[in-house]
Symmetry: C2
Subunit: 439 residues, 2 copies
């Protein structure tokens, strides 16, 4: 069988796009409306998506209040509680939660993921993040945010501890022999006794080994230590390449690192974020996107553009083209990408600002067939193993993808018609880890 796409849904209750809550037919109250989230998860499951991936932050996002007050991304359900609730109303779809190695304790993290894995019958995934947001540090009693390299060293140790705690019990430790009264075999219980640079955790975990052995390990950093951590540990990688060429470079780099570490390249699925807008024609799709972008309030949008360019652009004519901007301290590559975007799509200052204030990363905007073509090209040219799909607005943008794009992917043999296995790991084609203490 040819390689198939793996599809995760990268979700916020009212979409990632900051204008989405204002789109016709949207659910502005979705952030705290479980019925809506349940509906979305069940629709994704009906389309055989691999996973529901819940975005997360450990602080109210640091934006100017003019932008903040217009964004639905300011609050939403906490991922563990939401995904646990969704586990009770779904049967197949994977449930991926973010947990920070900087601001949480490995015993809690190991326990909650193991519990979610048991509750869901083996559908949990852990998105390991080191949390780069300095506002999060202030919510956890730290005035100085830990440095980047230190965060990654701690992350690696944290991963070792969490996976070690998951291995506290052999898979067959629990005998439950009613007759003799023996509940478990004490020879199949391991006390971790970890003490190293950052962490001291005795164990054992007070929860049986997860159904999947370990929940699927997901990673999202793209820095040098992030790529190395991914190559060492990750089974799915969330990336955000701006175009196919960059996606291919990342793919080759990280899979190459894996191979050098002796890992099988197929045991990691690289899934770039893809913002997908579906129309019956390319023009209709573009018009939907333009309408959505136009719902980003200009006051928020212009702040995003000024930050990206490192130059106050609020005095420019919103409906004119961007005049030449002097060089600044802003990231050069980021700046050039913005200027190129304005040029290539012929955007006005307003349109450019609203694009950046909404979503300006990799996007597939077109017909079901053209989107399927683009996805196939990424897969075939080793730009990715699939995607983390981001829907432009909800529920409409998700319905379009599920109803129109998925059937074409299935017809072309690029996506499953039925789930292959019982667990997230089985559906992704990943092996079940051996217990390091009981082989």
């Amino acid at each position: 069988m040819a390689r198939q796409l793996r599809l995760g849904a990268f979700m916020r209750p009212a979409s990632i796009h900051t204008g989405a809550w204002r789109y016709p037919g949207a659910w502005p109250d979705a952030n705290f409306n479980f019925a809506h989230l349940k509906h979305l998860a069940q629709r994704l499951e009906s389309a055989r998506f691999d996973a529901f991936f819940m975005a997360d932050h450990l602080a109210v996002l640091n934006m100017p209040v003019e932008a903040l007050k217009r964004s639905h991304t300011v609050t939403s359900f906490e991922p563990f509680t939401l995904l646990s609730a969704l586990s009770a109303v779904t049967e197949h779809i994977g449930l991926v939660a973010t947990a920070s190695t900087t601001f949480d304790a490995p015993y809690h993290v190991a326990r909650r993921f193991a519990s979610l894995d048991h509750l869901s019958g083996g559908r949990a995934g852990w998105n390991i993040v080191t949390t780069s947001n300095p506002d999060a540090a202030l919510n956890f009693g730290l005035d100085d945010h830990m440095g980047h390299d230190e965060r990654y060293r701690r992350a690696r140790e944290f991963y070792d501890v969490v996976t070690g705690l998951w291995d506290s019990w052999a898979d067959d430790a629990f005998i439950r022999d009613v007759e003799s009264g023996l509940y478990f075999d004490p020879d199949k219980l391991h006390v971790l006794g970890h003490k190293s640079e950052y962490l001291s955790v005795r164990g054992p975990l007070n929860i049986a080994r997860p159904v999947q052995g370990w929940p699927v390990i997901v990673q999202a950093g793209s820095s040098e230590p992030g790529r190395q951590l991914a190559a060492e540990t990750a089974e799915a990688v969330f990336t955000a390449p701006p175009h196919l060429a960059e996606g291919r470079r990342f793919y080759a780099d990280v899979k190459g690192r894996m191979a050098r570490l002796g890992r099988d390249r197929d045991h990691m699925k690289i899934l770039p974020a893809a913002f997908v807008v579906v129309g019956d024609s390319v023009e209709e799709a573009k018009a939907k996107r333009a309408r959505l972008d136009s719902l980003v309030h200009y006051d928020s949008a212009i702040a995003s553009l000024s930050i990206a360019l490192g130059h106050d652009v609020s005095g420019f004519d919103p409906d004119g083209r961007l005049p030449p901007i002097p060089e600044t301290n802003a990231s050069k590559s980021g700046r050039e990408r913005v200027l190129q975007l304005a040029e290539s799509e012929g955007l006005t200052v307003r349109q450019l600002a609203q694009r950046l204030g909404g979503y300006a990363g990799l996007a597939f905007v077109g017909t079901p067939a053209s989107i399927a073509d683009e996805m196939a090209e990424w897969l075939e040219s080793e730009g990715s193993d699939g995607f983390n799909v981001m829907f432009p607005y909800l529920p409409g943008g998700l319905d379009d993808f599920v109803d129109k794009v998925v059937p074409i992917l299935q017809e072309r043999g690029l996506f499953r018609r039925e789930y292959e296995g019982r667990t997230l790991r089985e559906n992704l084609g990943l092996p079940r880890p051996e217990n390091r203490f009981f082989r």
Copy 2:
């Protein structure tokens, strides 16, 4: 209307009693079988229970391995994940989770309870514990467990921070005006900026104010600082008095403290743990209990008895009466209670050991009518406002209570026939807290 009982169910998946998993008809695999837990929660809801209260520990319980390997209490679901999953398959019953003020961060705790409250439509409760188990400390990087008084000072500050974070947003902060693009009113957002003895937390919380304002505050300590913390903060108190006289003393003490603090005595429900065994006759109920106790393995049981007496009793004739025991370092009151129990019920060494290894606290063992009588006596004599019911084995012990005792309580006007409100707070008759920053 006369005062009515409030009934919580204090749950472990296979009951609190360590022999329960071996009882005929029990579910030995309940610890990781969500279908069973869902069934139990739905049955409790059909009987109009106030709350499902999930027992919890942050370590494998510290017992001799001979006892540990025979106990189903060694592992089970983590409470936040379990209760969130149950929130999706129930509509009315309250969901009370334990969270430690010693081993967790207030930002996480505030977020998870707020999220559970939104998911459940206002049914969350927070059982505040300071975690006295030194084995838990070792799982969280602390070699020296924090002292008792210090734990309570930190608990009080932790409570202030968590409730302050819940008040980050005014109840009407989220306007979501699609037309103007204003998602929330920035004048209705409060940044906590807490810095004090133990904690430094900036805020705001990235989640809207809970449906209940605050989830219901539950407390379980009975020490001097525990009682004071309860009088200051708790809305429900979990206690374990061995008999009515002690229950009345505790009730008068804590409600008196509340009154001195200017709080309304009705704004706290005192709910002792009650182990309830139902029979068609008193003899049948006693026989059920004796059978259940007999399922505690003698090796485990004798270890419990030796610890309680501070004396190795493993050499005694299991089927004889307890001979005189020399005074030891063991708690004097605990020791006397054990000796008195052996005397009053005429228990052999084996029976006494198995009682202690199973459950030896307050128990109502009798017919539905006699149990209703006892519950009514506690309520009327101000020994309690209701109970946290512990079922001896599952599902049978729960079925007996729901099918036989609850209807009698309802007939006598001692328990509701329908839920009074939408939220746990409304059902318990507790007021919704004002937002301290937005009145």
